[in-house]
Point group: C2
Chain length 406, copies 2
């Protein structure tokens, strides 16, 4: 956790278009029946940019095209995103389509194609309807920005839009970080993907931005799980256009911790919104592991617990079934001494000294009826800390995922 004064960071009602010099649009182009399905974020000038991508062997075509754009110069001026179709496992044709989507967007904006990132989410293994995409890009050119349109255009089976905004003070200047995300299952009936788009008007060094994003993704987006699967299209992208007019940030700058903390808060906020909106979910589950040998071991155990079907169904059933938490911890490769492990739920200790502890089942049940549930595990092996977020496993999850593709 990065320690900075909370005075220098403030959460606001803003969104991905709130930082200076950005606008965001969304339209319906016909990939979906009636909902918006194509969106774009545009910066008034090239922005220093960084991204992290899915580790899947089957990276989708748009991921490859975006990687190529960023390899050229680490600057982006726009990101075009469609829902309904992931353009994944689509071979040469898919790659051609993603390049074409990039080129048309660049032409529309009068910029170089390498300044455009491409992102897709939706059905795997179907070719993009390029007629709709072409029509949609023309529509985007004519359409005025409106709040929520971009956020809506990138959703698949998500039930709510996800947005965030933080204001920071850096070198006396106000700097804003905004964000939008989508994700409901890590992957869907066929709808794929977790996407995160973060914008900031900060002026910042390229390599510092890339390192910060990678480090922060590991403790935010990478610490959520809905069903344990990794999509072919996952991507988190951050753009920093420098419009705030601050002194250029780098890792030795005295206000670097403030920016990094702000970026972490924005990413964590979006990640939690995704976990809460997991397919069929009724509750956000947060698992905090303290006292591991390392932060990494704490993160792994936290994610293992929050990803356990048995823990997820127990939380759904408001059952303080700590035996299932034990099973998830016991299964990990991390350093664990049964006699030292302690498990807490809603202020009550359930397990300690390798023995069950007396606790009020009634209080525990009442606690588990909250829409946010926190499980705390103390290992007493070292100083490692880690948190993970997930959701309960419900009948609705099975229904969503067992229903036939339409």
């Amino acid at each position: 956790m990065i320690q900075v004064s909370q005075d220098s960071i403030k959460k606001t009602d803003g969104n991905v278009a709130s930082p200076k010099g950005y606008l965001a649009k969304g339209v319906h182009c016909g990939l979906r029946y009636s909902k918006k399905d194509l969106g774009i974020i545009i910066s008034s000038r090239p922005a220093v940019s960084a991204a992290v991508y899915t580790q899947s062997h089957f990276q989708a075509a748009p991921i490859k095209v975006t990687q190529e754009s960023l390899k050229k110069s680490a600057h982006l001026q726009a990101v075009i995103v469609n829902s309904a179709n992931a353009n994944a496992c689509t071979g040469e044709q898919g790659l051609k389509d993603a390049y074409e989507m990039r080129r048309q967007s660049a032409d529309m904006l009068g910029i170089e194609p390498e300044l455009v990132a491409v992102s897709s989410t939706g059905v795997i293994g179907e070719y993009l309807n390029m007629e709709s995409i072409t029509k949609g890009i023309s529509l985007l050119a004519e359409t005025e920005p409106a709040e929520g349109d971009f956020e809506e255009a990138i959703l698949t089976t998500d039930t709510v839009i996800k947005q965030t905004c933080y204001e920071l003070t850096i070198g006396g200047q106000r700097v804003t970080i905004g964000g939008a995300a989508k994700g409901s299952g890590m992957i869907h009936p066929n709808m794929a993907t977790m996407l995160g788009f973060v914008t900031t008007d900060a002026c910042i060094e390229e390599s510092a931005l890339q390192r910060a994003l990678r480090e922060i993704t590991d403790v935010s987006f990478n610490q959520i799980t809905v069903d344990g699967d990794t999509s072919t299209n996952d991507m988190v992208l951050v753009m920093a256009n420098g419009c705030a007019g601050n002194e250029r940030l780098h890792e030795e700058h005295e206000d670097w911790p403030v920016f990094k903390k702000g970026l972490q808060l924005a990413c964590t906020d979006l990640a939690k919104q995704i976990a809460r909106d997991g397919e069929g979910a009724t509750k956000l589950i947060e698992v905090e592991v303290n006292g591991a040998k390392s932060n990494l071991e704490a993160q792994i155990i936290a994610k293992k617990i929050v990803g356990s079907n048995l823990v997820k169904t127990a939380v759904y059933g408001t059952d303080a079934n700590w035996g299932r938490i034990i099973v998830a911890i016991g299964d990990s490769m991390a350093a664990v001494t049964p006699e030292k492990v302690e498990i807490y739920l809603g202020g009550q200790c359930l397990f300690k000294n390798n023995e069950p502890q007396p606790f009020s089942e009634e209080l525990a049940k009442t606690y588990l009826e909250n829409s946010e549930v926190k499980i705390e595990v103390r290992l007493q092996e070292g100083d490692g800390k880690g948190t993970a977020w997930g959701c309960d496993l419900t009948y609705e999850y099975v229904k969503i995922n067992a229903s036939y593709r339409t």
Copy 2:
């Protein structure tokens, strides 16, 4: 896979008590409301024995006691098993109770305590009711063996008993391998555990038996998954009492491959019965991966696919959703080249050359309506083969696991 002539191996209707010199009993002692809850397998003489145990950090008390028994001499003459209570996470008292259970069983049989293995399955974190156990052991002494009683006594939420039997010809002698197992979730509402008990009248060298069991467990019991969790009480035990009168088997014996193949068939048969009876399951899913860099990589990918909630729900919904199989493969650390991967279902090719293949959705749907479904993946990276077994994920699974403990 071990290659031997099928003439020398025959499946029969037998069970764990079929090999010469064994008997098995089961009684109701009061740990459960009315069902049988305590069972014992007895050999007429000490049997060379081997076991593999859960890798959980929180190994239950009976696991520790059994390990100690086998460390003394690698011989067992009996195994006592209770259901309803796992005697796990029960500290010093739990260990004392497991030793007492071993001592009472040994006294009843008039043998050394170190010739008895102890096994428990059921609720985690509650102390054993030793009054019931003591009563049950007396009852076992008086009770006559009857088919199915032992198998029933070791069940928790399983819906059917699991048993197997194979007859082999070894050095001209008939050798029998029998087995019983339980397991429905890897762990339950609180009911834990996968247990496997294999008996044989073969005469066999200790170290050869231990090595064969470990190797075979890795491709049978360890390749099934119902919900991805590992219990605190998992154990597979094999006893070989030599009553068949065969020439002592060792790894250089010409009929060693026959015995090993028989043991593998028995373990695989039991493992598949467990997967098929997974909590809430309607179907057995088999995933076969060919052409991996190594057998281990093939096994890992097969288990990852069969353990994916998204694949499991798709099979339940009879949806030939190969994108989800791609996602599960893509996530693995194994060597995978998207362009070389092929996916087959019910004789149809769904994916090849990194592109979707035309196939009949109707035929695929019909195929997925079978009670046994096989998914085949070809990687074309090497000669590695691996198979894994699991089941579909249904509303009933959520119901079983979200219902409050009673």
